[in-house]
């Protein structure tokens, strides 16, 4: 990485993907370790790489691809610095040495010192497929990223968490790990684990809680994972796609990374496109590509009225008004939405946005961990109100009640689930305002009785 951004390809050897090329997913079949190395070149290793990696990731402008869009470099630096500090002994928590309970699922691991890296491929967002697709097709990019980060933060242990829906992925990733062990590639052992069922189980703190042998539920912050995570050690949690980008930044440099995307939203990203398109699925796009172009490439087959961005605790944007919105966290934020984990769900004219929203709100209410009073009480109330608007005979003041409930739950949970549910509700009232008035005056529209468009797990997450 001393020759930053410069790959030195021999004839037929590895090449940095050119501008416009797909970076993460180069074909629709998994790349074996040998093919991976032939395509991207060997993983840069050594002391120097660890030292410059953090700065290089910071320069790249890479943000977390799990939904939070937090600068990845800053996150790595925080854990690297925390792992350099003497570990605090605090009266409230007992001595760190006793911190691992006997029933902890990682209590028997052989971590003597150092921090922990957790690769988050849980993907509990029902409409998202990008993490399992990436893990199936390019497992070694993710494992490269884990090795690089483990080295940069001084980790003694790494976990790769795969979603409970993706049993086949867990199997293939486990084989990829074994392939690397046989090749003697990684100095830090990687343990593949399956994330528990549940909408919140992939949330950063819930994941750490589960790895510590506790319930897979969000916890109160602080302490942040960077300070105290798995086995009370500084813990770096990054989405698997983020780690794959890091594997490429380490090889080809931050300038190469920034050659895709925009200045404010550099790089490419994986998005999952679902709903009323001819070719739903996962695509890699340069960040900042117009929403219209992204949807056209997936085949915007029928007249669409809106798109849900950012997953099920995301935001509705109206179509065709939003077709020019750049698909990036920056662009979505300017339009009052979020990109989140990159889910774009297209709602056809033939569906009722209020009915879809009500179903999702019920799903989110059922997905609440029930730990925080405002969420435990507020989300079912919000779902009831939205279901009444979609399918019932509400009075005019129901809109005010939805607004009031949205305000009451926002910012009052240990995690961001209530904020997300409120944002979804508010954006539905905004984007489907005409439908709301029609429902309030004439009852549910004919489209509300149609089949659901947006996928929800059968039986929910109860």
């Amino acid at each position: 990485m001393t020759a930053r951004g410069v790959a030195v390809p021999s004839e037929g050897g590895p090449l940095a993907p050119a501008p416009g090329d797909l970076r993460l997913i180069v074909r629709d079949q998994p790349l074996s370790l040998a093919e991976h190395i032939a395509r991207y070149g060997p993983l840069p290793a050594g002391q120097l790489v660890s030292q410059v990696l953090v700065a290089e990731v910071e320069r790249s402008g890479l943000t977390g691809r799990g939904g939070g869009a937090f600068p990845a470099g800053r996150k790595i630096r925080a854990v690297a610095e925390a792992s350099m500090r003497p570990r605090p002994v605090r009266a409230s928590g007992g001595s760190p040495a006793k911190g691992s309970a006997a029933n902890s699922s990682v209590a028997n691991s052989s971590v003597a010192k150092g921090s922990v890296v957790v690769a988050n491929g849980s993907e509990s967002e029902p409409a998202s497929r990008k993490d399992s697709v990436l893990l199936s097709l390019a497992p070694h990019l993710v494992l490269d990223g884990i090795a690089l980060c483990a080295s940069a933060v001084g980790a003694g242990r790494a976990y790769l968490c795969v979603g409970h829906r993706a049993a086949a992925v867990a199997q293939s990733v486990t084989e990829a790990v074994a392939e690397r062990v046989r090749a003697g590639l990684d100095s830090v052992p990687v343990e593949v684990t399956t994330t528990a069922d549940g909408y919140l189980s992939g949330q950063e703190n819930a994941l750490i809680s589960a790895l510590n042998g506790n319930a897979p539920l969000p916890t109160f912050v602080p302490p942040r994972p960077a300070e105290r995570g798995v086995r009370r050690r500084p813990t770096l949690v990054l989405n698997v796609e983020t780690l794959a980008h890091i594997a490429l930044i380490a090889r080809f440099g931050s300038d190469w990374f920034r050659a895709s995307g925009t200045a404010g939203a550099p790089g490419s990203a994986l998005v999952t496109i679902t709903g009323a398109v001819e070719r739903p699925g996962v695509r890699e796009i340069p960040l900042g590509t117009g929403l219209g172009e992204v949807l056209q490439r997936s085949g915007l087959s029928q007249p669409a009225q809106a798109v849900l961005t950012g997953g099920y605790f995301g935001t509705w944007l109206p179509l065709p008004a939003a077709l020019a919105v750049p698909v990036s966290d920056e662009g979505m934020r300017a339009a009052g939405a979020t990109l989140g984990p990159g889910v774009l769900a297209v709602l056809p004219e033939s569906a009722c946005g209020l009915a879809e929203t009500a179903r999702i709100a019920s799903f989110l209410a059922a997905g609440s961990a029930g730990q925080c009073g405002p969420c435990r009480n507020g989300l079912p109330a919000l779902a009831d109100a939205l279901n009444l608007i979609a399918f019932g005979q509400p009075s005019q003041d129901i809109v005010g009640w939805v607004e009031q409930l949205s305000g009451l739950v926002t910012g009052r949970g240990a995690c961001h689930l209530p904020d997300g549910a409120a944002g979804l509700a508010r954006s539905a009232l905004r984007v489907f305002a005409t439908d709301v008035q029609a429902h309030l005056t004439a009852g549910p529209c004919a489209r509300a009785g149609g089949p659901p468009i947006l996928p929800l797990p059968a039986g929910g997450y109860l």
Partner: protein, 83 residues
């Protein structure tokens, strides 16, 4: 010198101004804090506390400490750090 939220002026604090924060997982809506510090804490429809945003004004800090000490689940805290 800086204006405080109640219009008076106070000396610039040497330490970050304390803020109230509630651990929503620990809170069980006993409502003691709402009784003790209605100036800064109100109840939502389910009895859980809604905290007025911003730092705790100087003249309410001892009351705030009392409310923190009285919380049966130790969910209420005074912190000088941003969450």
């Amino acid at each position: 010198m800086t204006a405080n939220r109640d219009g008076g002026t106070i000396q610039q604090p040497r330490f970050p101004e304390p803020r109230l924060r509630v651990n929503p997982i620990a809170c069980e809506a006993h409502g003691v804090c709402i009784e003790l510090l209605p100036e800064l804490i109100s109840a939502d429809p389910w009895g859980y506390p809604i905290l007025r945003p911003g730092p705790v004004p100087l003249h309410l800090q001892s009351l705030a400490r009392r409310a923190v000490a009285a919380c049966p689940t130790l969910a209420l805290m005074l912190t000088s750090l941003q969450p």
